[in-house]
Symmetry: C2
Subunit: 121 residues, 2 copies
């Protein structure tokens, strides 16, 4: 686990991957999104939007992917990923069948995270 940001309600973890992939967790382990208080849900949606916009600006990805499953870990968390035509799974979701060895030459991820922290500050 690699937490890059937190506040009283949420924290953001890096998901180790060849693509830019972050996860937003609720601090309290709500099982389903509809159990999360409205102000925290709104915060999640706002942070998803901030991350999406910055991923688009910084990486010019082919597509942004967002998902909330929690089947293995029934604790609300949202995945947000920048996807690229030449990544390992495109156009399948990252949970789908691998399509190829990914060939990516992406801008620095730590710099992206640093910019994100500035946006969230």
């Amino acid at each position: 686990m690699n937490t890059i940001w937190k506040n009283n309600d949420l924290y953001i973890d890096v998901h180790e991957s060849a693509i830019p992939w972050l996860k937003i967790f609720t601090k309290y382990p709500y099982k389903e999104m509809s159990e999360v208080p409205k102000e925290i849900r709104d915060e999640i949606y706002m942070i998803l939007e901030i991350i999406e916009k910055l991923m688009i600006e910084y990486y010019s990805p082919t597509k942004i992917n967002i998902a909330s499953f929690g089947n293995y870990l029934p604790h609300v968390h949202w995945h947000i990923m920048a996807r690229f035509e030449k990544d390992s799974h495109f156009p399948e979701p990252m949970w789908g069948e691998k399509q190829r060895e990914g060939k990516l030459n992406l801008p620095d991820f730590e710099k992206f995270c640093y910019r994100l922290l500035q946006e969230l500050a």
Copy 2:
């Protein structure tokens, strides 16, 4: 395509599956969620919440899954699914590896859709 509901901004399609699975599309083909006007984004989140709550009440699922990919079809749409321990893919996402022949004995889906339309009216 099986559209069960629409308004000026959005429509809801049924995704053919052994599990309860709906898709919320924006009427205008925005590519990414951050391009969608805030009032329509809020509408999507509100409808996701209504569907999730009704799925939980009606089906008592093991978990709700939500996702927005659009890699094949770059037009904003959200998947929302009720997942069950004995469904074909659990605990993998429905895009992951099939785990078994699903064994489900679920309440009537048309009746669920009818209740949903009442909630959305």
